[in-house]
Structures are given as C-alpha cells and as structure tokens.
C-alpha cells in the first residue's frame, strides 16, 4: 500500500533576553553549574515569579512576524510533571490562552510554494540540564538553564516530507533571527524541534496514530529522524502491526530512534491557571507599536532584491534565507555598488566556503568590505575574474585585504595593449593550424588561441582586450 506521511512540528526557541523569564538571573550560556540560579528558578517554596516584560514583547514580535493573531487577554498555566530537571515539579506554560494563534509561513521546496499553518505560539520556561555523574554513577542537575524563556511554536500537521519539515524550520529560524528574538544556535540547543509524525493510506482523510520524536537539534537530525520514523511505521503497518502513540528519542550517532519508557512519558499534566502570575492584557497601541517597529522580514527583503536589484528569484531566496548572509550581502553591495557581482560571489563561493569551514555567515574569515574590495578590483580592470578566484582563496586562508594580496603576489592584470599585442602576435605566428581552422569556421580554434595567450601571461591578461586584439589580428 502507498502511504502518505503527515508531519507537524513543535519548535522551541530560547529567547535572547538578558535575564530569565521569572527572575533576574542571567540567561548566558556556558556558566559554571548552578551559578545563574536563585530561589525562584530553583523552585524554593514561597519564591514569587515575576514575568520579564521582554519575553512578552519577543513572543508578540514572533507572532506578528508569522502572521498570528495576538491575544488581547492571555494567561499562564502550570503544567505538572515530576522530573528533576524541573525542581518546582511543574513548568509554567500557557494552556488555553496562548499569546499568539492562527499564523502561517510560506515555504519553498524544489520550486513548489506551500503554506504551513501555525497553530499557536506560547511562552514557557526551559528546564534544567541533567548529566550523568561518572564518579558515582548517579545523575547531576544543573539549573542554569531552568527558567530561560522559551517560545513554543506549534505548527499544523501540514508537512508531507522531511524536506518540507526542514524547509519549515529553516524558514522559521530565518524569521526569528531577522526579528532578533532568538539567536537560534541549534548546536547550543537554543532552537530545537519535536516531530509529530503519522502515516495514512494515500487518499485517506483520517490521520493515523502519531508518534512524537523529541529534542532534535540540527536540520540533519530532523531529516534523518523523519526518514527513520517513516520507514519504521511503514514496516509496522505493512506487517499488520499497530503504531502506538508514544514519545520517542533520536540517537543521532547511531542514526536510530527509540521509544521512551512508558514511565517517563506519563502524560497527565493537570494544567491549571498559575496563581502566582497575573493575566497579560495587551492594548491595541502596544501591539501596533511592536508591529510598526518590526525589522524587515526575509520575504520583504527577497522582493526588494528582485525588484530593485534585479536578482533572480532563486538567488534572492538563498540570500535572504539567513539574516547573517543577507546582512553580508547588503554590506558588501553598499561598499561596491555591484549587487549582481556580490550575489554571484555568495552563490558560488561564499556558501561553499562557509560549509567547508563549518561557520555561520557572521563568522567568515573575511569581511563584506573586503569582498567589495575584490569586486572593485575586477570592475576597474586591475585583475581578471580568473585571478580574482585566486585572490579570494587567499582571503579565505589569510583574511588579508584583496588589494594587499594582489600587490604582494604581483597579480595586477595586464591591460597594456602593446604588451598584449606582442603576446598575440607571437602566439598567432606559432599556431598557423589554429588560424587556418578559425578561418575555416571552427570557433573553437579561437578559444584555443585565447587560452594560449592567457597561459603565456600567467592568467593576468585583460580578457576583453585580449579577445579584441586576437580578433583584429585574425581579420
């Protein structure tokens, strides 16, 4: 039987506030264990949580940037569960009145546009971290992360493949970065996804039983865990078995998922209104003010790149997929005035380099101004685009200014017509057969002659002048 996969995602993003959601402890990543803690975030009886106003602002920003309706009246609720990463024995989350609802974002996979619905965005606090104690064989608890603010973004079950799920998270990550509410560092866990997945026979309206694979913290893990879970459920269904509704974990090293023990997933959260925290009421003015001050979003930048800078849709889409990349593009374009050239360098070389070095676009070994300098050297004829590739590699390796590399390596382009003519005369005289071939209509012979001249000039000949002089000579 042919099956259709149905995927919905819950994405947790840590908000980039300075302090925790309910107390003034720092949210900084990587502090010594239990040094960013106080009675509130360690769950001491009687400690009173007070909501950080930035958390509300950031969640509303995220909601507006994803087309959500913002609740005028919202509240927080206790979600009760007993686990040592949550010393209060409840998480403070939002149950029936989330801050944001009914949004959507558009994704593009293989050229196909699709809209993914967003059910809701709510605020909640993160849990602490458990670690295995090698010394005693027990478990150690670090509560630095307990109380770091999160937004949970719940999608509709609108995705039908791993590629769509990855495209959705990429798009969402881009938006959150653009509006500056989360640094979205997946390797540090500040953006992570839970995947809800079920299969149903193609054509069936009814959803199958779903499983939830928790805490995926890379695009690769999202894609691989989905492929794994599709194959697993398919096998279960095809052998006449039953898919159980269960919570699963993904082991990225082994490349396999497994069900959590039933005890760990006793879902009975007994939500009730958090009595320590008063309701949130948002005025029209407040929401309007945030909406007016939202930074430019990827979609709008993309449209601008296409309409004002004349870039193709595909290129504009890639450039705006990451805020850092888009900022890099804009800074380089501002410095050299040649958007098309900057875009080409990014599409061909910079994306490759970032991937090879494994760095974000704000941590490249060269600056946008240095790239602009390289483009200016090509545009004013100082170097050829072929030599520019060599200079670029040197910029990657040494972070030196392109002007300095060109000077040190003697790479300045030869644009002196008499010097080029001398080479052309020599090469043409030495290759009578190619000249005859060209005159007999074989255009390839021209390319050969140009190549020989370029070789003679160690790639430094100005290609336009060279072409012109060879053609003149042959006619």
């Amino acid at each position: 039987m042919e099956y259709e996969v149905v995927i919905g995602l819950e994405v947790h993003a840590e908000l980039s506030t300075k302090t925790k959601i309910y107390c003034g402890c720092s949210t900084e990543f990587g502090g010594a264990p239990n040094t960013h803690c106080c009675p509130v975030c360690t769950g001491m009886p009687g400690a009173l949580p007070v909501l950080n106003e930035k958390v509300v602002e950031y969640a509303v920003k995220a909601g507006l940037a994803t087309g959500c309706t913002i609740a005028r009246e919202s509240k927080q609720d206790r979600k009760n569960y007993f686990y040592p990463d949550t010393p209060r024995a409840y998480q403070i989350s939002q149950f029936d009145l989330p801050l944001c609802e009914h949004g959507k974002i558009d994704i593009n996979t293989d050229g196909l546009e699709k809209t993914i619905g967003i059910t809701r965005i709510h605020i909640e606090d993160d849990a602490g971290k458990l670690a295995h104690d090698n010394y005693t064989g027990g478990t150690l608890v670090d509560l630095n992360r307990a109380g770091v603010p999160l937004i949970e973004i719940v999608s509709e079950p609108d995705m039908r493949s791993a590629a769509e799920a990855v495209a959705y998270v990429e798009k969402l990550k881009g938006i959150l970065e653009y509006i500056g509410v989360s640094d979205c560092k997946m390797q540090e866990g500040s953006l992570r996804a839970d995947v809800n997945l079920s299969l149903r026979p193609v054509g069936s309206e009814k959803f199958g039983t779903r499983t939830e694979t928790k805490n995926l913290n890379s695009f690769r893990a999202i894609a691989r865990s989905i492929e794994f879970e599709i194959a697993r459920q398919k096998e279960v269904l095809e052998s006449g078995g039953t898919v159980y509704q269960e919570t699963r974990r993904w082991d990225d090293e082994k490349g396999e998922g497994y069900a959590m023990r039933t005890k760990e997933e006793a879902h009975d959260y007994r939500y009730f209104p958090e009595p320590d925290l008063m309701p949130i009421r948002l005025s029209e003015e407040y929401i309007h003010h945030i909406e007016e001050h939202l930074p430019e979003l990827p979609e709008s930048r993309k449209a601008r790149y296409m309409n004002e800078l004349g870039l193709p849709e595909y290129d504009a889409g890639i450039l705006t997929s990451s805020k850092h990349l888009s900022d890099f593009f804009e800074a380089a374009t501002a410095a050299c005035g040649n958007a098309k050239a900057v875009s080409n360098w990014i599409m061909v070389d910079i994306i490759r380099v970032a991937r090879e070095l494994g760095v974000e676009y704000d941590a490249l070994p060269f600056t946008p101004v240095q790239l602009a300098g390289l483009i200016k050297l090509i545009d004013n004829g100082t170097i050829s685009s072929k030599i520019a590739k060599e200079v670029f590699e040197e910029m990657v390796n040494t972070s030196k200014d392109p002007e300095k590399i060109v000077e040190e390596k003697g790479l300045v382009q030869i644009s002196d017509e008499s010097a080029i003519k001398e080479v052309v005369d020599r090469i043409v005289a030495a290759n009578p057969q190619s000249v005859a071939d060209y005159k007999a209509g074989k255009d390839r012979a021209l390319g050969f002659l140009v190549g020989q001249c370029m070789k003679e000039m160690k790639g430094k000949g100005n290609p336009q002048i060279l072409n012109k002089l060879i053609l003149e000579h042959l006619q």
Binding site: T17, K18, T19, C23, G24, C25, S26, A32, P33, N34, T35, H36, C37, C38, P39, T42, M44, V50, L51, N52, E53, K54, V56, K75, N80, Y81, F82, Y83, P84, A89, L130, A131, H132, D133, Y135, T136, G137, G138, T139, L140, V141, D142, L143, M260, R261, E264, A266, D268, R270, P273, P275, L277, M278, P279, I280, R281
Partner: protein, 94 residues
C-alpha cells in the same frame, strides 16, 4: 467520587510508593478536601464573567535587568546531596 485508583494514579505521577493503608487514608483525606472545595458550587454565578483570578490585577512585569544570582553553596545546602557544583541524584534516564 474519589476512587482509590485516582489516588494511585496521582501517586504514580509524583513517583510516590504508597502502601495499601496509606492509599486508604489518602482516599478518605482527598474526599474531605474535594467535598469542601465543592461547597463553592452552591454559589449562584449567573452573570459573573469567568475568570481564573480573584484579583483585578494584570500585567505585573519586571524589567529585563540582571540581578546577582544566589550563592551556590547556599542553594546546594538545601539538597540532600551535591558534589559541590551540582545537585546529586540517584541515576535517572538522561
């Protein structure tokens, strides 16, 4: 209206091992509590807007400003066991 099964379920969720005698006792206790709370149902609430709160207070916020955290030794001194840096527990699934 409160069954022994419900008490067992709640105990399980909190990872408490209760003896049969304790389950009997807590079932009786819980009945009293729920009956007491149920007395609120005798109030006439027609025309009263539904609310989760008794006070007419809202938007109690604080600024996003860092305050000094607590002394770690002091925090850890509340726990039955620690290694000087972190709370120490019997082995859990991590």
């Amino acid at each position: 209206m409160i069954s022994k099964e419900e008490i067992k379920h709640i105990a399980d969720l909190s990872m408490l091992n209760l003896s049969e005698a304790e389950i009997e006792k807590y079932t009786e206790n819980m009945k009293d509590i729920v009956e007491f709370a149920n007395s609120i149902n005798s109030l006439d609430t027609d025309g009263v807007t539904e609310s989760a709160f008794a006070l007419d207070s809202y938007n109690v916020f604080r600024k996003d400003e860092i305050k000094e955290s607590f002394d770690r030794d002091l925090l850890l001194s509340n726990a039955p066991s620690s290694n000087g840096e972190a709370y120490s527990l019997p082995s859990m699934t991590v």
